[in-house]
């Protein structure tokens, strides 16, 4: 088990290097002058030179890159240009919001998707059509539009949930739940669609496998056949997709946090974009990449728990 974790980490660590490198190179190579952008057209040449100096833009690219990498290795992701605070402390203070959203929505999508998918696999009629309909609309409706629809219906008209804002879990668990309910649902819908479809197909395939017949003939009752044997054999593709859904929700949360005015990483990074705060964007890139690596590792561990054949190889 430890060797598996080690092997997977060794494979995914390059990603941790690649993402910041790509963002760094991109920022340097795209035609455009960040100092000019920040200052606007009215700035004097002296102001411009000073900003370039303080941003280190006069140093060669490779020097800047290595310096950034060196401090990143020591857990220092630089200082935000706009906030004038260490990037890590800015991000850490907003991590809870984003984690609540991405973890919550992935969990909701997994549970709802698996339930719907199993129902659709067992009955060809209505549940199958419902899954198809959800799959179509869930993927087509943009999350910012869906979020606004939910706000209109459940917050403005029915007044069941707050329209915007975040309540930390330490302040009031119930308030926290109410504040993230609509954003989590918004973020979960496309995931429900994808996971339900995957579960339906995988369950149908699993239920057609010969061992289902053997177990049924030997007297194993239907609920164990479906809930234990078929589901576990269908789980591997479902877990794969769930991992991808989590990674996708990192992109989705950027928009959803803006729609619901939540103080998370997503809202911060959009702000950082309009403020040309490159160190902050790069910091978010590092955090997201760590999340991607973590989830991929979790997915691999789940594989080996689910399927003994993976353990052996």
């Amino acid at each position: 088990m430890t060797s598996l974790i080690g092997r997977r980490l060794a494979l995914s660590l390059p990603l941790l290097l690649i993402v910041p490198t790509v963002t760094f190179l991109l920022a340097a190579l795209i035609p455009g002058d960040i100092a000019r952008t920040i200052l606007g057209a009215d700035a004097t040449q002296a102001q411009y030179e000073q900003l370039r100096q303080s941003l280190g833009l006069n140093e060669p690219l490779i020097t800047r890159y290595l310096a950034w990498l060196g401090s990143a290795l020591h857990g220092n992701l630089g200082t935000s240009l706009f906030w004038q605070q260490p990037v890590t402390s800015l991000l850490d203070s907003r991590l809870q919001v984003t984690l609540s959203l991405v973890v919550g929505s992935t969990a909701v999508a997994a549970v709802a998707g698996v339930v719907l998918g199993v129902m659709a696999a067992l009955r060809a009629g209505a549940p199958g059509k419902i899954v198809d309909a959800i799959a179509l609309t869930g993927l087509a409706v943009p999350n910012f539009f869906l979020g606004l629809l939910l706000i209109t219906w459940f917050a403005v008209t029915l007044r069941l949930f707050p329209a915007t804002g975040y309540v930390p879990v330490s302040l009031s668990p119930a308030g926290w739940l109410a504040s993230i309910a609509l954003p989590v649902i918004t973020l979960a819908v496309p995931g429900i669609a994808v996971i339900a479809k995957q579960t339906r197909d995988a369950m149908r395939e699993a239920l057609d496998r010969p061992f289902i017949r053997t177990l049924r003939a030997a007297g194993v009752p239907g609920r164990s056949i479906i809930g234990k044997h078929a589901l576990r054999n269908a789980a591997i593709p479902v877990v794969t997709v769930t991992g991808l859904i989590f990674i996708g929700s990192l992109s989705g949360t950027v928009l959803v946090e803006m729609v619901f005015a939540l103080p998370g990483l997503g809202g911060l990074v959009v702000q950082a974009t309009t403020q040309h705060d490159l160190p902050l964007i790069q910091g978010v890139a590092v955090y997201f990449t760590v999340a991607v690596i973590g989830v991929n590792l979790l997915v691999d561990l789940t594989y080996s728990w689910l399927d003994p054949r993976v353990r052996g190889s």
């Binding site: 990603l15 690649i18 993402v19 790509v22 963002t23 991109l26 920022a27 795209i30 455009g32 960040i34 952008t37 179509l136 609309t137 993927l139 087509a140 409706v141 943009p142 910012f144 539009f145 606004l148 209109t152 403005v156 057609d208 010969p210 061992f211 017949r213 053997t214 177990l215 049924r216 003939a217 030997a218 007297g219 194993v220 009752p221 239907g222 044997h229 576990r232 054999n233 990674i247 992109s251 950027v254 928009l255 803006m258 729609v259 990074v269 959009v270 950082a272 974009t273 309009t274 705060d277 490159l278 964007i281 978010v284 890139a285 990449t289 991607v292 399927d307 003994p308 054949r309 052996g312």
Partner: protein, 651 residues
């Protein structure tokens, strides 16, 4: 000369594309989506001509109006006409999607073709690179771009295309790999055509389908992304009409005018949906085109059903045998095929008495397994019991409620299948699967179930029961797995074991051990066995009585030894003669000519007639009945006398 060779091979060219187009046209969702997209592109392109107002014109008398005659889709916060702004905004969104798509196609297709066609190091490098890029969250990269060049949507979409190219590369690569091995491509390659020529002429047309599918998926995502960025206000100022920006503007006035959300939001959703549906339709059409069988007209069910003719007299109509454990009468099973139903098992009747072993013999496709699965109520969804009964202790197994039949599973009837390895759940240990079944039947606590599991494994002669219990199915050999499957079947102490070719997948030496084990278990437990096989050696070894099936019908039945000595049906005779160890010395082994007529194509007369040396016009005239020849001997043949004579003269 070299150029001619590829043409010799059947290249699925124009005809293939025509049928593909037809497949696409019969899908209304796909056609509708394509029509919508074409219309949308035309309307947006012609926005200056068709839009009712200038997109920036403010109608201050009509602020935030809902749909009205002057403003079909209403006006926004500044009184600007929503429809006009949608049309102008669409130009921008659709162009952005096209930009991204162009990058995806320009990079993904050639690189994918190169990776798939060349293989080797280039393939590995490209695939690894694609994998890396696909793991990068695209939003972050795009935000970096927009931080450096603010508001530059072109830059954002070009980079988005760059990030989308690897997915296209992978799709094209795998499609190319598949086409690469096809004969007409191999022929082209071997005949010395330049790779460029082969790829352009032969590979590209076949890769086009997957490219369109992946292209429409990307287009859907690109539009989602473009409108998202516009919603965030990162790609345009507030005055420029954009779809995403219109949603953002509407969001500030939800409490006053909800309507404003819908024109832009719904149009985005519908357009994304159209891209998705188009991709689905192309994918389904391509899949159909690959799998559509040659158009052989199948006879309708009515025709074959009319030919089955089971009159009220004759052995088929004999009442159920009271002494029998299982008494099957007139069992029919049909298979749903597109429009028609085909009969697969046709009025099959047989008995199994306590403690005996009955062989069910015939080639593959004769309905042996289907008959058995029908009795076990394990038929796959495409097959249904169309008639008949299966009496067990005075009750019809086929009519019983599910719950009642559930209690008989494993304890009255048990089942062992042909493929030992795949008949065990790969994700649980042997011990845990056995314990689950034991607990179901014995209602004992876990430790007791585990102990009995070890007993059962010992009973089926597994060398190391404790180790076997801890093993997963993939760690067992075929013979060991079949013993475990047998232990699972025995766990409920069944009175009848239905074994479907239990030795076919095993090595010859293991086969003999398995048969010996079955014999021993039968002696010890007194259970009856219904053994499905095509192997006369197995029949000779273990069976008391034998039933021969052909094309869904019982064609002969009798004592096992009797059948060997004096076959009455030409099919039985043919089967016996084609068996190496049973052929008469000095005579050549005669493989039975032809093959089993598939369900749905059965002739109305004797079904074996097309393959039979004795057949004449009388055989083909109408259905042949199963007739009694001596006590416990029946055959479905008009020429049994000739068969017997032929057999005698052959000795």
């Amino acid at each position: 000369m070299s150029a001619a060779i590829p043409r010799l091979r059947a290249r699925p060219g124009a005809a293939r594309r025509r049928s593909f187009a037809r497949q696409l046209m019969i899908r209304p969702a796909g056609t509708g989506a394509a029509a919508f997209l074409v219309l949308l592109v035309l309307a947006c392109a012609a926005a200056p001509l068709v839009s009712p107002y200038d997109p920036g014109a403010q109608h201050l008398a009509d602020l935030l109006s809902g749909p009205a005659p002057h403003h079909l889709l209403g006006t926004d916060t500044l009184g600007r006409d929503v429809l006009s702004r949608l049309l102008y905004g669409g130009r921008r969104s659709l162009l952005s999607v096209a930009e991204g798509l162009a990058v995806v196609l320009a990079l993904g297709v050639p690189l994918g073709l190169a990776a798939g066609y060349r293989g080797g190091g280039a393939d590995r490098a490209l695939s690894r690179g694609a994998e890396m890029v696909m793991a990068i969250p695209p939003i972050i990269i795009i935000l970096v771009v927009l931080a450096v060049v603010p508001g530059n949507e072109n830059a954002a979409m070009l980079v988005f295309g760059l990030l989308g190219a690897p997915a296209m590369l992978r799709v094209v690569r795998s499609a190319t790999l598949k086409v690469r091995e096809e004969p007409y491509v191999t022929a082209g390659r071997l005949s010395g055509l330049s790779p460029l020529h082969v790829v352009r002429g032969h590979v590209l047309p076949r890769v086009a389908g997957p490219v369109i599918v992946q292209g429409s998926i990307f287009a859907a995502y690109a539009l989602l992304f473009e409108t998202g960025l516009a919603y965030l206000g990162l790609t345009a100022d507030a005055n420029t009409p954009t779809w995403g920006g219109m949603v953002a503007e509407a969001s500030t006035r939800i409490e006053q005018q909800e309507w404003l959300l819908f024109p832009s939001g719904a149009l985005i959703a519908i357009t994304i949906l159209a891209f998705g549906l188009l991709g689905d339709a192309v994918r389904d059409a391509a899949a159909m085109e690959d799998t559509v069988p040659p158009p052989v007209r199948r006879r309708a069910f009515q025709r074959t059903a009319a030919g089955q003719g089971s009159p009220a007299s004759g052995p088929e109509a004999t009442p159920v045998a009271d002494a029998a454990l299982l008494s099957v009468r007139g069992l029919s099973v049909t298979r749903q095929e597109q429009a028609a139903q085909a009969l697969v098992v046709d009025s099959v009747s047989f008995d199994v008495f306590p403690g005996e072993t009955v062989g069910l013999v015939g080639e593959s496709g004769c309905g042996k397994t289907v008959s058995a699965l029908a009795v076990l109520r394990l038929l796959p969804g495409s097959l249904t019991v169309a008639g008949g009964q299966a009496q067990w202790a005075g009750r019809d197994l086929l009519q019983m409620p599910d719950r009642a039949f559930g209690h008989l599973r494993g304890s009255a009837l048990a089942y062992v299948s042909q493929e030992p390895q795949s008949s065990l759940d790969p994700t649980f240990t042997v011990g845990s699967q056995l314990a689950e079944v034991i607990r179901r039947h014995d209602q004992v606590p876990r430790p007791a179930a585990r102990a009995r599991a070890a007993d059962l494994l010992r009973q089926v002669e597994l060398p190391d029961p404790t180790r076997a219990a801890r093993a997963y199915p993939h760690e067992l050999s075929g013979g060991m797995a079949q013993r475990v499957a047998l232990a699972l079947a025995l766990a409920g102490r069944p009175q009848l074991l239905i074994a479907d070719e239990p030795t076919t997948a095993l090595d010859v030496t293991v086969q003999a051990e398995m048969l010996a084990l079955l014999r021993r278990l039968q002696r010890e437990t007194g259970m009856a066995i219904l053994l499905i096989t095509h192997d006369w050696g197995v029949v000779a070894d273990i069976c008391d009585r034998t039933i021969v099936m052909y094309a869904g019908q019982v064609v002969e039945r009798g004592g096992a030894q009797d059948l060997f000595d004096r076959p009455l049906h030409p099919y039985t005779l043919g089967l016996l003669r084609s068996h190496p160890s049973l052929a008469h010395p000095g005579q050549p082994i005669n493989a039975l000519p032809g093959r089993v007529v598939p369900p749905g194509a059965w002739p109305s007369g004797c079904r074996f007639a097309p393959r039979c040396g004795f057949a004449d016009d009388a055989c083909r005239a109408g259905p042949v009945l199963l007739t009694e020849h001596s006590a416990s001997r029946q055959a479905r043949c008009l020429h049994t006398d000739q068969v017997v004579l032929d057999e005698v003269s052959a000795r």
